[in-house]
Symmetry: C2
Subunit: 359 residues, 2 copies
DNA sequence: GATCGGTTGTGAACCGGTTCAGTGAACCGG
DNA sequence: CCGGTTCACTGAACCGGTTCACAACCGATC
């Protein structure tokens, strides 16, 4: 059998202009240098307003405008510059409040001309540090963390490499660039006082299943015991989502000796309690009073509307972004910026006085 | 006044090993080359299993393992390789269903060892393309888009540069790498049939305020008119969020000639209607029946539980990620992968027969 | 034994910025 | 007029990979 080899040589002289729009060519700094008659180094400096005369800077800027030059973020990152990307690491994206926080942070970052590389530990504390390292490898300029894991040495090492801002819980011993702290201690105290005031004595706290450091654990225990004067109060760790809390709540409430009130440290958890109550035919707040934490926009639409502790996500996001921007601009270790967000208890119909049990 | 100049010279001989853990040093490909006695090029090839003998490949892999070598994603990206980052561009992160989708996509991407650069157009269609371009500039390997804007020429150009997968609406004329399509036409038809079957005649559809292309607009109009046989059906565009829909719904319902049923093309919109009803003292479904779209996990917890059209976010996310992975691996234009997700109407207590009006 | 084709591996250029050391020119006080 | 600064800019190295063109080597074929 014969084999034919067909050779086809086409001489092709393409006018570069005709490629515009088909293959996009980014203007490089060297082209800009040639155009302005300067060296690439001078252009690089000029664009960042350093070490050049005002006249040159203006000339370069005009040329950049004209040629539509924009620095390649990847090349800039490799050379050690900023990427304008920050990492946003959350403990559990399944939690509705966290979702709202992500939205708010995204909006703020857009205003600050930053992009976000979002990572979700999906409720597994062990995954947190690995994801953080991955973000660092991507050369993010900074990190916003909503921690659920313990504050290990790995965090300290990361915080030394780039600015880290925490939202919600702290990472003790890490010395981040900024902290937006929720005063959980006070929040829990207020909520328990409210329930206690209504006459509840047997209360269960559904806490998030966070692998806290000893200090934070102690903090929380202290808050609980302090506020719990005279209260029969149990703390149960719980998955940070609706699907996680529903079965746990069902088990907890399907018992004549059930608590008269449940305080959930996240609205997502409270939603699971609602679902469990519906399943068991228990009425809220008649059979069991329920309070949440975070105050998701939907909570006031539930039946009954959910009593919840308001944590302002907009404020938290604004602070965190501002802290991070400052730390990135400062470009060196500074004192930790800190903002404590005060809890406000929004009392709604899901909490009322306990009804006396027959038996 | 005297000036003292203090010169302090400290001869400092640092053992490189002692710096470990203080400043993290990434092993580079050249170090790995030196260690194995090969050239950097050979190592690069070996790590990607190309053009090298099996023995060499094994040797390099072992050395990489031993030295803890991991390729720098930034350098790789600059050299034209893959970044293992994909862009996730959503029309409105304020929409709860979109939030769920983002969560699901994140989880899938984690499984595929990809990271996500998330961008939110925040309900503004004009912002969509700009954000997409920004993601392309960041050298993402691909793009997952939940579009709200029109399919302009800009999209076609982007789809030619990298794989694009759409979820939900399509971008006609763009030829993306993959499409996960929601059959909105059928979904709307089913919902309207349900309402019609209950006896509703005057129905308002609160649609998302999407700047659709003519084709999609026509599609939707066709679906509506086809299903709306005998129905007095009005379509009103609405912001894609609770806060956006509540005032609109309040205005719409504060009118004796109000519709007997409202079909919302997103659960977020329906939540706004619930809020408006609470405000106006209208009962659901007695005074007005309400149906949603998307079936957010919370919807079944509302009072009354919301009738909604189920769009499975897990399935959509899985498909989209799979399509994108395939397209990235194929590394060249392929036929568009396509999956149509069928709507399933979950009937709950928020829809019932209309009550006759007095007057 | 010369030629050929295929496999492995190398050297160097390249991606597109940043930055350091160095050079000339202008400037200044003595 | 001279030594010392400061200013504005340049050349070249560098970040850490990828890839192209080519060389060395091998066995098989004519």
């Amino acid at each position: 059998m014969n084999r034919f080899t067909i050779i086809c040589i086409t001489a092709c002289r393409v006018n570069p202009d005709s490629l515009r729009g088909i293959v996009k060519h980014r203007t490089t700094i060297r082209e800009l240098a040639e155009y302005t008659g300067l060296s690439p180094a001078a252009v690089s400096y000029a664009l960042r307003g350093k070490q050049v005369s005002a006249a040159t800077e203006r000339r370069v800027r005009e040329a950049a405008e004209k040629l539509g030059y924009e620095a390649d973020p990847i090349a800039r990152a490799l050379a050690g510059g900023a990427t304008a990307v920050v990492g946003l690491l959350v403990g559990s994206l399944a939690d509705f409040w966290t979702q709202e926080l992500v939205r708010a942070v995204q909006r703020e970052l857009y205003g600050a001309e930053l992009s976000a590389l979002v990572a979700d530990a999906d409720g597994e504390p062990a995954r947190e540090l690995e994801l953080a390292q991955r973000l660092v490898d991507q050369r993010v300029d900074g990190l916003v963390v909503v921690p659920i894991g313990p504050a290990s040495g790995g965090w300290a090492s990361i915080a030394r490499q780039l600015p880290v801002v925490t939202i919600g819980d702290e990472l003790p011993g890490v010395a981040p660039a900024g902290e937006v702290v929720f005063d959980n201690e006070l929040g829990v105290e207020q909520a328990l006082q409210h329930l206690s005031g209504l006459g509840h004595r047997r209360i269960t706290v559904l806490s998030w299943a966070v692998e806290t450091s000893p200090e934070r654990d102690a903090e929380r225990a202290a808050a609980l015991s302090a506020a719990a004067l005279g209260l029969d109060c149990r703390v149960v760790p719980c998955a940070y989502s609706l699907n996680g809390s529903q079965p746990l709540a069902a088990e907890l409430l399907d018992d004549p000796g059930r608590p008269t009130a449940v305080l959930c440290l996240s609205d997502s958890i409270a939603y699971g309690v609602y679902a469990a109550c519906a399943e068991l035919g228990l009425s809220i707040p008649g059979d069991v009073a329920v309070a949440g934490f975070g105050d998701h926009p939907i909570s006031r639409l539930l039946a009954p509307p959910l009593t919840s502790t308001v944590w302002d996500v907009e404020q938290a996001a604004e602070c965190a972004t501002s802290f991070l921007s400052q730390a990135i601009a400062a470009d060196g270790p500074q004192a930790t910026l800190r903002e404590v967000v005060a809890p406000v208890l929004a009392v709604r119909a899901s909490t009322g006085p306990p009804t006396p049990r027959r038996g």
